[in-house]
Symmetry: C2
Subunit: 117 residues, 2 copies
């Protein structure tokens, strides 16, 4: 990424946008160990059928997952497992932030305690 034109920024942003939704992350994580059909994903995610289906259509349109109809069911699967690397990076970053906060809290707490009579 050096000098990018506006269209490039827009495309990258749109990609991140797909990952910027708890339900979609849940669905993607549900597909981590292989294909699942819609009903399975509905059960797994706790969402409504309509909503899960919409998210699947979005992810599918963006080529993050692929759809394969078999009988009356539709099986979805991850197209590029690298998305999990993205999530792992973010998780690592958040974990670091949280541990920093935890450390700050401890500092705060001990400061309070040493102040207590």
């Amino acid at each position: 990424m050096m000098q990018l034109d506006d269209q490039a920024y827009a495309r990258i942003a749109k990609y991140f946008q797909l990952l910027a939704e708890p339900m979609r992350l849940k669905i993607l994580n549900g597909l981590r160990d292989g294909e699942k059909n819609v009903s399975e994903l509905v059960a797994l995610s706790g969402g409504t059928q309509a909503n899960v289906s919409k998210h699947l259509t979005m992810l599918s349109t963006a080529n993050l997952i692929k759809r394969e109809a078999r009988g009356t069911k539709a099986y979805y699967s991850i197209l590029d497992p690298q998305i999990f690397d993205l999530c792992a990076l973010v998780c690592g970053q958040l974990a670091m932030q949280m541990s920093t906060e935890a450390a700050a809290n401890e500092t705060f707490i001990s400061a309070m305690q040493s102040q207590a009579t």
Copy 2:
């Protein structure tokens, strides 16, 4: 990332949301080679002062960048360079998608040409 609770998904999603904005990506990319003040980022991004400032506040609140006031100016800098790894991954993914599309286009085009009289 194994079984995550809803709060974890929400946090990860919020993080991605920060990167899901062209202007913020532009700003972050502008900070790639070191700190810059707001005016510099305004010039660089082509955005309005108010808008750039707001995005900077958001990124700063989320601890993606840090703010340091010096005189009347405010210098911002990247806190965790790993965000560029995230962007690089996405860029790679998009590049692959585009080359796939390009290949598909070529296939399409040659199919058309071979059909032409």
